[in-house]
């Protein structure tokens, strides 16, 4: 039982990060129909940025703030310089553009930062808390609490502010949004900025637990993407559920089956879900128009 609980804790912690990455995917996908493979690199920018800024003498809160802003700037540049000029391109071309962007960001990160693994000190101590024979780090609470806070903030933003409603309107129907006077270009840029900020926060929260390096973005992107797909592409609640589910399955897979193949779990899950429920867990069944 204690082992089970232990796996649940670690699964939820990692799953919360996947959920945040998936949420970033979903925001951008809904607003612009683009799958942004560089989403994982925002996680890296958040983590690495904070590590290096903190090492340069900035206080931790200031370092995190600058790192998040840096990720937002990268997100805006990505939208302005790479995605917007290619509007209307095929999905494969768009995939390749964001993959190119992801490779580019990693290449630059190697130069700006370095190729070593880095960590941050846990935000509130490293003394494990134990419940029911299982123990977890206080940082796990930060990750899960941070995820909840972001979810609530995002919900408030989308439902209660005019800008958020403009984003939802654009996601629902871009042409109609344009007709009622929404500046769609600004809204799309906003989607990239918000998803970059979410990714960066995820990276900062999880770095004390999982370490970070210039290339950690790839796996985060893939698993976040898997989470978004499992939950049903374009569905925010689905993205969160998918993230937690993949985190849990990965932890159970690593604990009970084989830790070597834990990275394969996400993909096996995608396949299982897609074949059993082609629209994902929360996605609506769509009719194909001919």
């Amino acid at each position: 039982m204690s082992e089970f609980l232990q796996l649940v804790f670690s699964g939820l912690t990692v799953g919360a990060v996947y959920a945040l990455v998936a949420l970033g995917f979903t925001l951008v996908y809904n607003a612009s129909d683009v799958i942004n493979f560089a989403q994982g690199d925002f996680v890296m920018i958040g983590g690495m940025g904070t590590v290096f800024l903190a090492a340069a003498g900035f206080s931790l809160p200031l370092a995190t703030l600058i790192a998040i802003l840096a990720a937002v700037v990268v997100g805006l540049l990505l939208h302005r310089l790479a995605v917007e000029p290619a509007r209307g391109a095929s999905p494969v071309t768009l995939i390749m553009i964001t993959i190119g962007a992801s490779i580019f960001i990693k290449g630059v990160a190697q130069l700006v930062f370095d190729k070593q693994f880095h960590s941050l000190p846990p935000f509130s101590g490293a003394d494990p808390i134990s419940i029911g024979g299982a123990s977890f780090l206080p940082q796990s609470l930060w990750v899960i609490g941070g995820t909840l806070a972001i979810l609530i903030a995002l919900w408030l933003f989308l439902e209660k502010t005019l800008l958020g409603k403009a984003l939802l309107a654009t996601a629902a129907n871009r042409l109609a949004a344009l007709l009622v006077g929404i500046n769609v270009r600004v809204v799309l840029a906003l989607a990239f900025a918000v998803s970059a900020a979410i990714g960066a926060v995820a990276g900062i929260l999880v770095t004390p637990i999982t370490l970070t390096r210039y290339d950690v973005g790839t796996l985060f992107a893939l698993k976040g993407f898997a989470a978004a797909m499992v939950g049903g592409m374009g569905h925010p609640v689905g993205a969160v559920a998918g993230g937690l589910l993949i985190g849990l399955m990965e932890a159970f897979g690593a604990g009970y089956v084989s830790s070597t193949y834990k990275d394969a779990v996400a993909f096996v899950m995608i396949l299982v879900v897609l074949f059993a429920m082609p629209q994902g867990l929360f996605g609506r069944r769509s009719l194909e128009r001919v």
Binding site: I35, A82, P85, A86, A89, S90, P91, V92, T93, I95, M96, I97, I99, G100, A101, S102, I103, F104, I105, K106, G107, V108, Q110, L111, T218, L222, F225, A226, M229, M233, T260, Y261, D263, A264, A266, F267, I270, L271, L274, F275, V290
Partner: protein
């Protein structure tokens, strides 16, 4: 006249043969021959993807997985099972076809982004297995590949490998061109343009896609086998995600659906890192930038854009 030449199958092959014949004359040292051999090998893998992406319109972000299977077959066959290297080579290609059949049957039902991620996942799992099953594959450190002997003749040396790989590419190109012009090539393009319309005129869409996937996997497997045999050493890096992306980038940069495009794309992405070795730290940044620039400004690729340029001006 010009239009006829640009679109002719024979002209494409003759042009390729000419390039292959001229390179050794111009190459100042055997290093250049080795780079050229790598170009032919990756062109072969890109050709397979051309059939899948260009003809059938399906994407695979995990084709380096097949490259890896083909490569490890020639390494593991002789070393662990005591098989003849040549036999291992063909078994590897056949294994790629079999795996593609088994994986493709469920996966190819997916479309667009979903298919991209599913194939990506496949490639990742192959790389993971090659990494982890160290007892068989040698793990992350890689594995030595036995030299190949044909009728008592040991294939080695840059010049020999240049001609072997060039020959393999010529055969692959001829096959790809013939597939394009055959009835099955036409059905592939029909389902590329509209699956519904293709189904309507009686094309078995699922079976056709699967066939294209299997053929493209065998191309990649053969390329992987050649790569391993030529280098004499192989690591799980062969099957990496980056490699899969490079293969797709070769196809798109050259010009999706064009046989010469696959060769041009392969030349571009194989020669470039060699030229950039002086700026090794910048290699990844430059590669990412190039992929972005090409996708944004020349999505049709080099060869297709050139072709259109010539055809538009042909009388």
């Amino acid at each position: 006249m010009l239009a006829a030449v640009v679109t002719s199958r024979l002209a494409t092959l003759l042009f390729l043969a000419l390039v292959i014949a001229v390179v050794p004359v111009l190459a100042p040292s055997s290093f250049y021959l080795r780079v050229a051999s790598l170009v032919w090998i990756f062109a072969l893998a890109a050709l397979g993807l051309t059939i899948l992406m260009g003809y059938a319109g399906q994407v695979s972000l995990g084709h380096a997985g097949f490259l890896g299977i083909g490569a490890y077959a020639v390494a593991v066959g002789p070393a662990r099972l005591g098989l003849d290297p040549l036999l291992s080579f063909f078994l590897g290609a056949a294994l790629c076809g079999l795996v593609a059949y088994a994986v493709g049957k469920p996966i190819l039902r997916l479309k667009g982004y979903y298919l991209a991620i599913a194939t990506l996942g496949f490639g990742l799992i192959v790389a993971l297995v090659l990494h982890s099953e160290a007892a068989v594959t040698g793990g992350p450190d890689g594995i030595q590949v036995a030299r190949i002997t044909l009728f008592g003749w040991r294939i080695s040396g840059a010049t020999t490998w240049y001609w072997v790989t060039a020959g393999a590419l010529m055969i692959g190109a001829a096959l790809a061109l013939n597939i394009a012009a055959s009835p099955s090539g036409r059905t592939l393009r029909a389902l590329h343009d509209s699956e519904v319309a293709a189904t309507g005129v009686g094309v078995d869409v699922a079976a056709r896609k699967l066939a294209a996937f299997v053929v493209s996997a065998v191309y990649a497997g053969v390329a992987g086998g050649l790569l391993a045999l030529m280098n004499g050493f192989i690591t799980p890096e062969t099957a990496s995600f980056m490699h899969s992306i490079e293969l797709v980038a070769m196809v798109i940069i050259g010009g999706t659906g064009s046989v010469l495009g696959a060769v041009v794309g392969s030349a571009f992405l194989t020669v470039l890192p060699q030229a950039l070795t002086i700026l090794q730290e910048y290699e990844q940044a430059v590669l990412g930038l190039l992929i972005m620039v090409f996708m944004i400004f020349l999505p049709a690729g080099i060869v297709s854009s050139l072709k259109r340029f010539v055809l538009d001006r042909a009388p």
